[in-house]
């Protein structure tokens, strides 16, 4: 009997089971998780940890636990995707906490959401004056969505009757010194054009380039491994802490 070997094998089982199970649950950003999702994640992780190191019991019951919890999450996800009504019942609904500039105290009380939480989240959105807010909605994941009053909203090209410049998505042409030929073809450019661009920006070859991107509107970005900065900005204050 070798405890180290058993823990190692169990680690492999837990690690890859967790990887397979979480991948089967689809992609969800941590910021989009509800409080319940968060707790589910912790519970599943905790079961996987126990599966690995708790040698006083067999691995199988822990694995069944891991599988069951993941299955329940999967079922819950499936149900909420299929039924809007059940989705609202399970995940809850967004709640308006500021309506027409007025704080909805009753709603906040029901949600056990404090005024301090509201001001905190408004500051997080760059709003330091409550008078700027027309509507604030507390989303099911706990995030606050804010609609500012018209005078405080940023000016758009439409307001100024300016024709907006269409923007596309950056396409990577060089990544870590390697030319991505399929992407080059995608933007209808060739190696000759890319080499010219590299020389134009003062580099000798693609090997000197860390990242180069291209946009549909003709915008080209290039960054080399060597950064030519006369004075680098240092945001660290570690040395002053002594």
């Amino acid at each position: 009997m070798n405890d180290t070997l058993v823990v190692f094998i169990r680690s492999i089982v837990a690690f890859f089971s967790l990887l397979i199970f979480t991948r089967s649950l689809g992609k969800q950003q941590v910021s989009h998780l509800t409080f319940f999702d968060y707790i589910l994640g912790i519970t599943i992780g905790s079961i996987a940890a126990t599966l690995t190191t708790d040698l006083t019991s067999r691995a199988w019951p822990h694995w069944v636990g891991l599988f069951s919890w993941t299955s329940f999450v999967f079922i819950l996800q499936w149900v909420t995707v299929k039924s809007h009504k059940l989705s609202k019942y399970i995940d809850g609904e967004p709640a308006i906490v500021i309506m027409n500039g007025q704080i909805m105290e009753g709603t906040m009380k029901k949600l056990r959401y404090r005024a301090a939480d509201l001001t905190d989240q408004l500051r997080d959105k760059g709003i330091f004056d409550m008078n700027e807010v027309a509507f604030a909605i507390l989303e099911t994941n706990g995030k606050l969505s804010v609609l500012k009053k018209s005078p405080y909203q940023p000016v758009t090209p439409k307001d100024l009757n300016l024709p907006p410049k269409s923007k596309g998505v950056d396409v990577e042409l060089i990544y870590d010194g390697r030319v991505l030929k399929s992407n080059l073809k995608q933007v209808n450019k060739n190696m000759e054009w890319l080499e010219n661009q590299i020389r134009l920006y003062g580099f000798t070859s693609s090997k000197d380039v860390f990242l180069a991107t291209y946009q549909k509107n003709g915008s080209f970005y290039i960054d080399g491994y060597r950064d030519h900065l006369s004075q680098a900005t240092d945001v660290s204050d570690y040395n002053d802490l002594e």
């Binding site: 094998i9 397979i20 067999r58």
Partner: protein, 121 residues
């Protein structure tokens, strides 16, 4: 082809994991002839009943050897505590044989039989 591999690899891995965790009940059975723990324990029980202490000593050694082989096979699918307990019982039986304590040995053997039945379940 890519999609097939995407499904096949996780399913294959999960299958291997399930097998590694649930085959204890099969792997505790004898495969090599000399690894029949339960047989050696039963013979040991008869020796003790007949108070043939030298034979009992021999069969205890054989049972311990068989257990050593089997424990390596079932270590990934069995409870560690149960396995340790069986090892400890063999040590205790050795002491009881030296002391010629028939009743204690039979009690320990009864516990081994119970634990063996539970092992890997």
């Amino acid at each position: 082809m890519k999609g097939l591999g995407f499904i096949f690899i996780p399913v294959f891995l999960i299958g291997i994991f399930i097998l590694s965790m649930t085959t204890g009940i099969l792997l505790k059975k004898p495969f090599l002839g000399h690894d029949d723990v339960l047989h050696h324990v039963h013979v040991l029980k008869e020796d003790v009943r007949n108070e043939q202490w030298d034979k009992a000593e021999d069969h205890l050694i054989k049972a311990k050897k068989a257990w050593k082989t089997v424990s390596k096979r079932i270590q990934f699918s069995s409870e560690r505590e149960e396995m340790r307990l069986i090892s400890r019982i063999f040590v205790r039986i050795h002491g009881f044989i030296e002391a010629r304590e028939k009743g204690s040995i039979l009690a320990e053997i009864a516990e081994i039989e119970y634990l063996w039945d539970e092992l890997g379940r």
